[in-house]
Amino acid sequence: MFLTSQFKTTLKKNLQPLNLLPQVFLILLIIYIVYFFSKNTEINLDSRNLNFGFDFLSNNAGFDIQFSLINYDGSSSYAKSYLVGLLNTLLVAFFGIIFATILGFIVGISRLSTNWMLNKLSLIYVELFRNLPLILQIFFWYFVVIRSLPSTEKSVIILNFLIINLQGFYIPKFIFSNFVFIFYGLILALAVTFFLRYYATKVFYESAKVIPVFKIFLLLVIIFPIIFALLGDVKITIEYPKLVKNFGIFNYLGGVKLVPEFLALLFSLSLYTSAFIAENVRAGILAISKGQKEASKSLGFNNSQTLKLIVIPQALRVIIPPTTNQYLNLTKNSSLAAAIGYPDLTGVFAGTALSQTGKAIEIIFIVMMTYLTISLIISIILNWYNKKIALVER
């Protein structure tokens, strides 16, 4: 009701003749500028005998890509090379967001620690990582740290599990048979938890008894998949990376390989973004007035209940909006991958595919729309979460 009346007033004001004139001009101007540039592009494309179209997407790409999550080789189409790039971007963004969030919370909370050393160390961390240009940090991890690792034949091997060398990090690959049973177990655990939560809320309101739903959930998530795995005859084979020698060239084959370009990008994006998230976390916690905690104590909540039920829910409201921005920044910053040769969306599609096809306008358009879509999806998810935890005024 309030909003509508305000909107009506604004609209009325906007429609007054004196105010109308410049607004109409502005809209006409915007339409004209859009028209002008598209017409200009059309004329220039025509004059150079270039045709506009997306047919090229089904042509053979002809180039291989170093690192791909799906089955891709040079005989695949340009559309598939786009998918490879997109998945590589999402991969680094996904893990980047997880690591940056975990690191950010740890450092942000440490910034408020009463322990002098922890406090100062986290201060140095934040100031160092957020004040150096990201591209330099990427270069540092790639050209300084990773390039100084030993060569393949002199790899560092940790506990027969992690193999580290200049050409990548290798870990054993776990191959499951009948993996689907583990998945069934997980679904059952989630379903049971869902009903338990409903029941726990009811019990809490009726008899003030607290059922530790989260602890039970953790237990179920471990036990159910194990039981199902035993019942469904799930077998695990471990494939270790093997050192292979071809003349004088050494190579690790098999296992899971993490390419250095991916690692350098992941490290730098996570550390850079975590410094900003840490400050958001600190701000969020500091925003909760002391009175809230004191009131909570006087109502009989203990320390962990105060933190869980009073401080964190309120702090999250302050933390989430700026952290959304950081997630968006991380995703967009991942396009700096091209500088070190990680095959992300920008590198593969707006780079290699563009120069092989010459379809600059089409490809840049597709890539821009893709980043826009990814960003909007992240925004929508976090806005939804933000709304869910927002203060409900009664």
Binding site: L18, L21, P22, F25, L26, L28, L29, Y32, I33, F36, N40, I43, N44, S47, R48, N49, L50, G62, F63, D64, I65, Q66, D73, G74, R147, S151, L166, Q167, V244, N246, F247, G248, I249, N251, L253, P260, E261, A338, A339, G341, P343, G347, G351, T352, L354, S355, Q356, T357, G358, A360
Partner: protein, 343 residues
């Protein structure tokens, strides 16, 4: 009221500027634009010794640079009036199409899809090359047929990248490409051990080997896996300009055939040989066909030299790059350089 009128006028003026301005790039006017500007905008590599490379003082030299200089000599009468723009393989065609450079002389391979599909024109070939592999001596491999499960550093957006796949696919060998946007980055990654093999055109291998920490540690494998005719590139909508570039190169090649050099060109002015007289601009009106003055070919030879001179000075056996003439010798000497007659 007064404020609104001023605003409206400002907007009107702004719109008017847009209506009367035209951004459309002018077709068929490259020569006129170069003459008007008084300098040639030439796209070159970001540093391939012998082909296009800037020294510490910023002076560009190389066989591709000589193509730029020769065009400037033909069109402007002064080989020094060139502005160089270093470009990555990935960006080169877009920059040319956008009109920021007049000609691209950047060891670019002439292929059907580029010539036909990218609205570009390849007027001539100034270096016949082929793709090869460089590998560390310690790898103990002497043939490209023995490359298997190797990591290969390559420059992205090149025909090299495509040939690489074709080669390994055809020979049923496994490899992993590590693609960089700059040739320098690919070489540095190979040198650091990120890759086992570095691949590019053989001329580029020889040139880039000089950039490794210890050039003697690396060998170039004997196999040539592709044809790479390298040459200057222009936009496809300007025939006059394409002709100027094509015949500039033909003059350099033909001058070598007739033994005209930078040093002896003035002493040849008294010659009776009509072909030489035409190249010196003393007979016929060769320049007229290209809308150039009649001294255009004289200026090229006098200021830049013939093809052989340019080759020997930049990539020949006496230079650090050290490439034998091979295919790039005149057809009279067992090579395939064969310029149509300048007449």
């Amino acid at each position: 009221m007064k404020k609104i009128t001023t605003n409206s006028f400002a907007i009107l003026a702004f719109v008017a500027t847009f209506i009367f301005a035209t951004f459309s790039a002018n077709a068929n006017q490259t020569r006129e634009n170069v003459v008007k500007r008084g300098s040639l905008n030439c796209g070159v590599s970001q540093g391939v010794p012998g082909f296009s490379n800037a020294d510490a003082s910023g002076k560009w030299t190389g066989i591709d640079v000589d193509v730029c200089r020769a065009i400037a000599a033909a069109v402007l009468g002064d080989a020094t009036k060139v502005k160089y723009t270093p470009l990555s393989a990935k960006d080169r065609f877009e920059v040319l199409k956008a009109g920021d450079i007049d000609v691209l002389a950047r060891n670019t391979t002439w292929t059907l899809s580029r010539d036909g599909g990218l609205a570009l024109e390849f007027p001539a070939t100034n270096f016949y090359d082929g793709q090869g592999f460089m590998i560390r001596k310690a790898a103990n491999i002497n043939s490209a047929k023995k490359l298997n499960n190797v990591k290969v550093c390559v420059e992205t957006g090149t025909t090299t990248e495509l040939n690489l796949r074709d080669y390994f696919k055809a020979n049923k060998l496994k490899y992993e490409p590590v693609a960089f946007t700059k040739a320098d980055e690919a070489v540095a990654a190979y040198d650091a051990g990120r890759c086992d093999v570095y691949t590019t055109d053989k001329s580029g291998l020889a040139a880039n080997r000089t950039k490794t920490k210890n050039p003697a540690d690396h060998i170039i494998l004997p196999e040539t896996i592709s044809k790479e005719p390298l040459g200057p590139v222009v936009r496809g909508n300007d025939e006059n300009w394409a002709n100027i570039v094509r015949w500039t190169l033909n003059v350099m090649i033909e001058a070598e055939e007739y033994g005209i050099t930078q040093a002896n060109i003035d002493s040849l002015k008294t010659t009776e040989d009509p072909a030489i007289k035409r190249l010196l601009g003393l007979e016929g009106e060769t320049g007229k066909n290209l809308s150039l003055g009649n001294t255009w070919s004289y200026n090229i030879i006098k200021q830049v030299g013939n093809y052989g001179e340019s080759y020997e000075a930049n990539v020949g056996p006496k230079t650090p790059v050290g490439l034998a003439r091979g295919l790039n010798a005149s057809w009279r000497k067992g090579g395939i350089l064969y310029a149509p007659p300048v007449r």
